[in-house]
Symmetry: C5
Subunit: 364 residues, 5 copies
Amino acid sequence: MKARLLSQKGYKPGNAPGALDAPEGALDPVAQIICYDPENLEEIEFTSIDDIPALLKKWPLVWINVSGLADVGLIEQLGIQFGIHPLALEDVVHIPQRAKVEEFENCLFAVFRMAVIQNDAHALEQVSLFLGKNFVLTFQERPGDVFEPIRERIRKGRPRIRMARPDYLVYALMDAVVDGYFPVLELYSDRLDALEERILNNPTQKMMEEVYRIKRELQLLRHCIWPLREAVGNLTSGEHGLVNPETALFLRDCQDHVIQVLDILENYRERISGLTDLYLSSISNKMNEVMKVLTIIATIFMPLGFLAGIYGMNFDTESPYNMPELSSPIGYPILLSVMALVGIGMLLYFKNLGWLGGGNKKKP
Amino acid sequence: MKARLLSQKGYKPGNAPGALDAPEGALDPVAQIICYDPENLEEIEFTSIDDIPALLKKWPLVWINVSGLADVGLIEQLGIQFGIHPLALEDVVHIPQRAKVEEFENCLFAVFRMAVIQNDAHALEQVSLFLGKNFVLTFQERPGDVFEPIRERIRKGRPRIRMARPDYLVYALMDAVVDGYFPVLELYSDRLDALEERILNNPTQKMMEEVYRIKRELQLLRHCIWPLREAVGNLTSGEHGLVNPETALFLRDCQDHVIQVLDILENYRERISGLTDLYLSSISNKMNEVMKVLTIIATIFMPLGFLAGIYGMNFDTESPYNMPELSSPIGYPILLSVMALVGIGMLLYFKNLGWLGGGNKKKP
Amino acid sequence: MKARLLSQKGYKPGNAPGALDAPEGALDPVAQIICYDPENLEEIEFTSIDDIPALLKKWPLVWINVSGLADVGLIEQLGIQFGIHPLALEDVVHIPQRAKVEEFENCLFAVFRMAVIQNDAHALEQVSLFLGKNFVLTFQERPGDVFEPIRERIRKGRPRIRMARPDYLVYALMDAVVDGYFPVLELYSDRLDALEERILNNPTQKMMEEVYRIKRELQLLRHCIWPLREAVGNLTSGEHGLVNPETALFLRDCQDHVIQVLDILENYRERISGLTDLYLSSISNKMNEVMKVLTIIATIFMPLGFLAGIYGMNFDTESPYNMPELSSPIGYPILLSVMALVGIGMLLYFKNLGWLGGGNKKKP
Amino acid sequence: MKARLLSQKGYKPGNAPGALDAPEGALDPVAQIICYDPENLEEIEFTSIDDIPALLKKWPLVWINVSGLADVGLIEQLGIQFGIHPLALEDVVHIPQRAKVEEFENCLFAVFRMAVIQNDAHALEQVSLFLGKNFVLTFQERPGDVFEPIRERIRKGRPRIRMARPDYLVYALMDAVVDGYFPVLELYSDRLDALEERILNNPTQKMMEEVYRIKRELQLLRHCIWPLREAVGNLTSGEHGLVNPETALFLRDCQDHVIQVLDILENYRERISGLTDLYLSSISNKMNEVMKVLTIIATIFMPLGFLAGIYGMNFDTESPYNMPELSSPIGYPILLSVMALVGIGMLLYFKNLGWLGGGNKKKP
Amino acid sequence: MKARLLSQKGYKPGNAPGALDAPEGALDPVAQIICYDPENLEEIEFTSIDDIPALLKKWPLVWINVSGLADVGLIEQLGIQFGIHPLALEDVVHIPQRAKVEEFENCLFAVFRMAVIQNDAHALEQVSLFLGKNFVLTFQERPGDVFEPIRERIRKGRPRIRMARPDYLVYALMDAVVDGYFPVLELYSDRLDALEERILNNPTQKMMEEVYRIKRELQLLRHCIWPLREAVGNLTSGEHGLVNPETALFLRDCQDHVIQVLDILENYRERISGLTDLYLSSISNKMNEVMKVLTIIATIFMPLGFLAGIYGMNFDTESPYNMPELSSPIGYPILLSVMALVGIGMLLYFKNLGWLGGGNKKKP
């Protein structure tokens, strides 16, 4: 996952609000215009800002989508054309923004993050959206988005979307963005399942690092989605009259989905915390096992080694008090028997403690 | 426990809202109709959608229960018959939904999870419920539910349920669902009791895995029940006039039960966290015991072994400075006595430290 | 402590609300009636339900207290006599209920838990209370309660209680219940003090199990008392007019006490969490001490043992290169000196590390 | 620190409210009266309750301060004189009370804890305060308080305090109490700084016990101050008209200080939790160091000791297959070289693992 | 980072509010006056308080900035000149204050902390700000601030700032302060990134101490910024009419930034908690590795050493029962083979347990 918490470096506090600088590494914009009414549809490659007034006059709904934020001139022109407040324009190019919906005089401004899945990973990019009386203006960081099915529905003339109401189009776009998080959650669900199985089987520190990584990524994801809950709610409240009650019903459904995403993230968070506990207890347990092996070995062989050491001493056996055992004709077999008894006794003791596989009694 | 957090895989963001696809693995529907008034009762196997208008005319209350969601055609027909909003129909087949109650123009829509106990385990299935002026329409994933006692009460003509008011029937159904969670909690209570006893007696890593599993399942359960609290509250508020004040009194009681379920889940959660602490401290303690055994053994036999090693050296005893002890006629018994003293001294020292069973003094 | 979180087993979801079954193990009821006005007092053993209307006519305040819930017939009769809603009656026999206050048409219903101390332990039992215009009706699970001092105050004719206002009597009862928790808290305070001292002196796993037990009991206690806060507040709000403003002042004081109980429980909870940390760190510390002893012993005696082993080898000392030390006349004293130096050196090293009692320097 | 969470033992639930018993160990009261107007000032030792009506008539503001609560008769007399509600009087002698402000018919009642520093420790004592139209009545447990600077300001005739408005005097008293917590926080800040430095340098279990003690004391402190936030806010709200808007401005400032105290306590709490983590990780780390020393020693000397043991065996060297090394003229130097190589090899291996001071590579 | 939680020592509770004492170590003030209208600009070094009334008459906006708080006389004079409440003046010199915005009769008072970056570290200093009808008065502790770009914008005559509305200037100042936290967050982001990499590679206790330090600093930072959220919100609410709606739009944006800063701090906090978990698990893991090495070595060499010890015993080999192996011509090679088998067997056993690098099987 690639996502930033902080804007590009070198951001200078104290600058005038509304000053536009293209974000670092921004791509050249590709702008696409879709105009439609219930009967007709026109898809145009954006060429000049001057074409737009004519389109706005002709069509009940003009959707302009700009992918790539390198050309701040274009963004400023569009801002002037649609009467957008400079603070909102600044938010378009200042990445990342906290998800929010703001009401301006003649339009609603929404900014949020969109998750696009590529090769089993997901990238987050910022989408800025302006909703006016007869236009929808969207900016995204890169080409490639979750809006393609919506374009298909427009092209195929599906009745509800072709009513050509901008608020419904905005709902469709936000719903696509929110629903686009579910496949990302599925990826994490798979990773967590795999990790859980591996930690239950044979925990290693690598897994703990993976746990840490997933935790960080989910934190970042939650960081992006959390404010969306409030933002979607703000779309329907307010006195702007840009969202009609029928669409508000759909947006309520969309907000339900945001809450569901957050619920699932919370559930993942608790699962990760459970996995951490499980891992730590498992490590402690393994250590216990290792220590038991060491203690069993030491406890058996130290006394035996000591006995062998005794009879390796060189006391003068002339004296009858000095190591008479050595001269006994069966000293050796007796000693071996004693050693065997000591060894077996120790083993039985440990078996009794439950330290050997079969036992499960508690130390008294 | 079997429950999903995420919908079936392959869910495509950007689809039009209201598009119906049967959930993966859905069963063929079995539909049952119960019509009754205070005096009469008719139970019919559902055959055709065309019979329904006649029934609605004839009876003050028609309850249609559909078990199995494979036939989306049937669901759509019922939706048209009862004037149900497409978004609500979509929620019927999109599993799982967050528990919620929504107000539509001519009906109330509630969706929640029902716990059905089978063989000491419980399964969760989604129940969708529509409450109209003279009908109640319920969908469930599988045959088998907690509603049988309600059907019995209807059949037996119990006065309150036979008043044939749809809002009271809805209360009865929701109350059965909520009360159906208590036996599930009982199962977990039993599992926690057993686990607690085993952890207090002889903790093993297997128990920690069981703790983890119970924790996950309770999280999932809480995830299902938590939004129900708000949902039941929403049933009584609102201006739809479908729930009369007398029933609101009963629903308040039902909401109390939801809160009680959540309280108990919270209590279980804290108990599990306590068990984890107990387990970890017990593991640390066991390690301490193991280490003490090892240290006692090593501390006794290492000096003794060293002494034995000394007198196993081969210095030339011709010189009077070289190991004169070896030639002493009572060198060996003296050494053995010294060794015994060293060993006993060590044991007394450890006893004093409280490392041996009987001692409980603190190391100075 | 004896308290249940869940109702008796075998509770069947789907039953009609208001169906009365005596709780498992319920005792036979003993009912006592106290009627009084500022001048007179009559204490009667309850004999028949038929006497009650006459009493209600004669006295401004009739307090009926029923101890023991086995006779559901009696409870139903009382319910009919005083016009009590079936849902409230059901709550009287369904144990345990979450503490709550509910407003019905002609009475207020309160249910909560009372702590009764017996032999240094406490038992919780459910008290249900109905407040009407000129009656107070209380149910408790067992004889024996915290209401005796109130009965005494009535008998002795203390002016405030003998005003014979039912709302003041209810306040007095609830205040006795709430204040009855303080001695229970005192018991826990004593147990925690004792535990704290023992953990600071010589922590053992037994104490951790005691910590766990106290934690569970306090959770249960908090579970009982928490909803009481809201419940006492609900007594004074509402439009029932059964509680007059003067008594509301007293109830505000009672609610303050509930909050104080909860504050103290929270404080105990934090103390327990601190004790757990302390215990765990102390166990780790003890392990460290054990390990240091082992390491010191091994580090001193392993090299010494090795040296002794060297000179126990049987190389052919004919060759001048093979162990010439053995033939040296002072080989043995020299070796002993070397060994002493090695041992003392090691001890000094460990002293320097701060591993021996006196040292407190840090390892470089 | 000396503070109680629970009242004195033997508190009997069920007692009539308003019954006054002197708290255990209460001191004999010393009462001081200060009467003043902008021009004049009179300080009187309290002698008889009968003098008070005259004083109240003569002066616009009479401040009576009672230190010591043993004489409940005096407290009752004062209560009757100033028309104080019995519940409030009961709170004066029931110690400890949760900090609160309550509105009675003819006065405001505030109760809170005051921190008095003595010899680098602080004691908490309860202050009860009654604010009426032309009097301020304060009770404290012991002589010695933080009000001396206020008395000085009154005596020196500072203009604002000499306006002789009781609400301003109450503000001054509460502000002194709140600001009196800052020096206490300073004491804890110093203790935490010292502790932090010691834990960073050389952590011992004693410090953990100190951490636990500080944590408990701060909990108790927070327990006392937390409700003060709401209490000070309550002083200004309400319709009693006893606090005029200008003073409300000052009280807002006082409430800011309470919030600041709570913020700092929260900060200390987090710091303590960080110290605990640091301590635990440091203990684990030290254990690791100890274990490394042990393992290095054992890993070097066990193989060497084994080699020495081999050549100490007594096989019959007549056979050319039995230990021919012993007869080799340079067997001994060769063996010593091998031993040196093994030892150095082991050391290099551990250096490579980063177990020795200089290394910092990771185990492959 | 340098920041205080508590005021300078020696703060005496009970002092009259509004008494001004210069904070400890305060610098001599440097005061700068900027007056401007849309067309003209005048920058004056402050010389005498008497010049100010003329300036206020002449210019629509006078901004006086005082750096250094040692001269309380000057601060008092300014307070009198601008009619500032003594409580607010007290807050200017009492450092640190909790960030807040307060409404006084003729001005708004805001106090907060400003982060100034110097040499890769940041210092926090308190800024007090008074907003009146035609003046802005700011106090800061030291020269050097984040306001230079604003002065540049004024000098360069940027249209929006040169409208010369004091509320917009205040917004610009607060925005500069809030945006000034982002570079500080960047510094911490870099430190956390570096720390994370080092902990993943080779964790040492030093890093844990760094974690602790960063945690404390972030707590302090959050402590400073948290109340700012509410404070900025308070600027726009209220009935003072000093902030016009257009500026409120900008302040909303500024508040968004405060929330973003807090979000990022929260994210850092969670990251630090994750790092602590990672560190602890890594230490446990390392200990496990160390213990395994020790156990492997001991388990291999203890039995081998015992065998060597056996054949070093001096039993009288005359008896055919005593150690006949010693006389066998191939006793030695046989023993060596047995030892090799034992050693290899142990190694295979540990490989099977997964204790050696290559293995990853679980102990049965």
